[in-house]
């Protein structure tokens, strides 16, 4: 056997071990969350930090979390919010991304850099101006009001611009020769080719808005409009006391479950999208 080949094997094994160790460390909090959520009476359990299930195992924390919150309503509102934001963003970032990638007009690069400047702003600065705007639009305490500030996305525009630019012009030229209109061109030629970019953006967008706390807390008031993050906080955080870890873990799993499920089902496609666009 070729000694060099054997050496490569060792390296591979070493890399595998290192990756496995990293994966294990990454998985630890999730494993702990799962174990803690199944351990009733967790606040005073002496082995609360342990990863090994012990003592009584039960779903008590889940039933407690479920009964303390109105999860079906929160799921519904969160789906609506994330879905609404994403639907609008797909339209705006595709159009803007195309404009910045392919159309030439005066001030294009200045406008593009102005767009990127948005990424530098710390979101909390915009809370009061955004709130004032949605109040004057009559959208205060309504889901469209929470969504509105996100309808345009600097990050998404940037990403789609890069994606469109990476597509060879030959495809467009061929379509044009066949008499395609601009909208047909975008819809039938560019979008299918840009799908991995759009998918990567969708994942970033949905997971960001799914997890967002401060803006929904500020822009929504009625219990009927509440979303998951604010709902979860309402029964798990305490300013002057301690928390029941088991209920928190169970509630957090309930909140994260749909995202985890989507990831497990579409794992291959998600990974390939990120590889394609180079987002980490």
């Amino acid at each position: 056997m070729n000694p060099r080949h054997g050496h490569g094997r060792e390296l591979r094994l070493l890399a595998m071990l290192a990756l496995a160790a990293a994966a294990l460390m990454w998985a630890m909090p999730f494993a702990w969350m799962l174990v803690a959520s199944l351990r009733p009476e967790s606040a005073s359990a002496s082995d609360i930090a342990s990863l090994i299930p012990s003592g009584t195992v039960g779903l008590g924390n889940f039933t407690e979390a479920w009964s303390e919150g109105t999860f079906p309503l929160w799921y519904f509102n969160t789906f609506l919010m994330c879905g609404g934001i994403l639907a609008m963003q797909c339209i705006t970032v595709t159009a803007a991304g195309y404009a910045f990638a392919r159309l030439s007009f005066p001030g294009r690069s200045v406008l593009f850099y102005l767009f990127l400047l948005q990424l530098m702003l710390v979101p909390p600065i915009l809370i009061v101006p955004n709130l004032t705007t949605i109040v004057s639009l009559g959208l205060y305490d309504r889901l469209p009001g929470v969504m509105a500030p996100y309808f345009a996305s600097a990050f998404g525009t940037f990403l789609m611009r890069q994606t469109f630019r990476s597509i060879p012009r030959d495809y467009e030229d061929a379509a044009m020769l066949d008499g395609a209109s601009l909208s047909q061109l975008i819809w039938h030629v560019l979008l299918p080719l840009a799908r991995p970019g759009l998918a990567a953006f969708a994942i970033v967008s949905v997971s960001y808005h799914w997890n967002e706390f401060l803006w929904p807390l500020i822009a929504l008031s009625s219990p009927a409009n509440q979303v998951l993050t604010v709902g979860l906080a309402s029964f798990t955080t305490g300013a002057e006391s301690a928390s029941e870890w088991g209920v928190i873990a169970a509630g957090t799993l309930l909140v994260a479950a749909p995202l985890i499920l989507v990831f497990v089902v579409f794992q291959r496609r998600i990974v390939s999208s990120f590889v394609f666009t180079g987002i980490k």
Binding site: A43, S44, A45, S46, I48, E68, I127, V128, L131, T132, I134, V135, Y140, D141, F213, L214, L217, I218, S221, S222, P223, Q226, V230, A233, S234, F235, T236, T237, G238, A239, E240, S241, A242, S243, E244, W245, V247
Partner: protein, 435 residues
């Protein structure tokens, strides 16, 4: 067929009439933070449900608004955007900022309409609460749920260390001596306290005040006494316990972790709010007791908790409805019920004359310690830009807890940052001299 139509029509009419009646009620919203734990959300919704049932002309929606700091942020944003809530359960030390920024209304006219004076109204509450509720002579906040820091200690740990569980530490000397005896390397710390924002500043102010200091000017929002011996001594105590004696864990520990350490026997003593009392009692399996905050020069316990305020910009009808709600919430009966449920002490003195409250104190003598400590109560930290000025000190204390700075450097740095933050207000007020 026709008859059933008529019934349906009548029913629909009835519904629309009752809906109309419901709409005639004044709709108001109450912002509430969750100060202690989740079950309170359910309890507060029940409380508001009871209020709505007994007041058909008012309809209150209870709106959960996160932590005390989140609640402050949401309230301020809502006021600026022109949608002020009718009433807010606001961290008591933020009330002054609302007055300074003209974002809350003085309650004096409402009190006078009831045939009381601001003085006679405040006399219904424990005297120590007035400093954070009455600003520049006017009532801006009505105390609703109040607390002081308490020393919680484990009876088993005291016995194991050969200490008498009936003799908790009284002075700082006792605290250090006992903490040394209670500490078992790699197994148990003698003393723990939360090191996170808000909680840390509150406890540090308590330490400085039990070291003879004032920590901040109670009458004027532009002065803090960070770079003073009383505050320096407080930070030196923490530095000693964490970095030299190792009887307290290094780094920043949050309240959850502190309580968990206490439950699991990894902390023998801890400082937490009286507001955590019910939670600790429900979850601590081993016996525990509570005691006053230990002191060096004089006993002192800073007030914590929240007051009810009415933000500026509400219609007269909403203000009137909010005032009815506030009066109901602090009535002896309701204030007592809330106190028993949470562990906060009831700000309303008369609540303690009710039989239910007497029975509760007899059953849980621990709850009485917080009340007894009230005679040493001192006001809660409030200045111009309260949060930023508070954090100026908290950042430095966290650096001490992590072994990154010395107490001497910390008080100087905190003072400099605080002075810069308060300068605009100081220039406009104390240094604004007629020419």
């Amino acid at each position: 067929m026709r008859k059933s139509w008529r019934i349906a029509l009548a029913a629909a009419l009835g519904i629309s009439i009752s809906a109309g009646a419901a709409r005639a009620a004044t709709d108001i919203d109450l912002y509430f933070p969750v100060p202690v734990q989740g079950k309170l959300v359910i309890e507060i919704r029940q409380l508001i449900g009871d209020f709505n049932k007994s007041h058909p002309d008012i309809h209150v929606t209870a709106v959960y608004t996160g932590s005390y700091d989140d609640t402050n942020l949401k309230t301020a944003a809502a006021i600026k955007a022109g949608r002020p809530p009718a009433a807010v359960i606001m961290s008591a030390n933020f009330v002054r900022s609302y007055d300074i920024n003209h974002e809350a209304i003085s309650l004096d006219p409402l009190i006078e309409k009831e045939g009381m004076t601001p003085q006679s109204f405040m006399a219904e509450f424990w005297p120590a609460l007035a400093d954070n509720a009455v600003i520049d002579g006017h009532v801006y906040g009505v105390p609703f749920q109040n607390s002081t820091p308490l020393l919680y200690y484990s009876v088993d740990a005291f016995k194991a260390a050969g200490l008498d569980p009936n003799q908790p530490p009284v002075t700082w000397q006792d605290l250090v001596t006992d903490a040394k005896k209670l500490t078992v390397a790699n197994k148990r710390y003698g003393f723990e306290m939360p090191g996170t924002y808000d909680y840390l500043g509150w406890i540090v102010s308590g330490l400085a005040m039990s070291n003879g200091g004032q920590y901040f000017n109670h009458g004027y929002g532009g002065e803090v006494y960070y770079d003073q011996p009383s505050t320096l001594g407080a930070l030196m105590l923490l530095n000693e316990m964490v970095n030299k004696l190792h009887v307290m864990p290094p780094g920043v520990t949050d309240a959850n972790a502190v309580a968990s350490a206490f439950f699991t026997g990894h902390a023998a003593m801890m400082v937490l709010s009286t507001g955590a009392l019910t939670f600790i009692r429900d979850n601590m399996k081993a016996p525990f007791k509570v005691a006053f905050m230990p002191y060096n020069i004089q006993p002192a316990a800073p007030i914590g908790g929240a007051s009810l305020i009415i933000p500026a910009g509400n219609s007269p009808a909403r203000v009137a409805a909010a005032w009815t709600l506030i009066q109901w919430l602090v009535s002896p009966d309701i204030a007592g019920r809330w106190s028993r449920f949470t562990g906060y002490f009831s700000p309303r003195i008369a609540a303690y004359d009710l039989p239910a409250m007497k029975a509760y104190l007899a059953k849980y003598p621990n709850a009485k310690v917080a009340l007894d400590q009230l005679k040493y109560a001192v006001p809660w930290f409030d200045t111009f830009e309260t949060v930023a000025v508070r954090e100026a000190m908290e950042n430095q204390v966290q650096a001490i807890l992590s072994g990154r700075t010395t107490p001497e450097a910390a008080v100087k740095a905190a003072q400099a940052t605080a002075d810069t933050l308060m300068k605009p207000y100081v220039d406009k007020t104390a240094l604004n001299i007629p020419q």
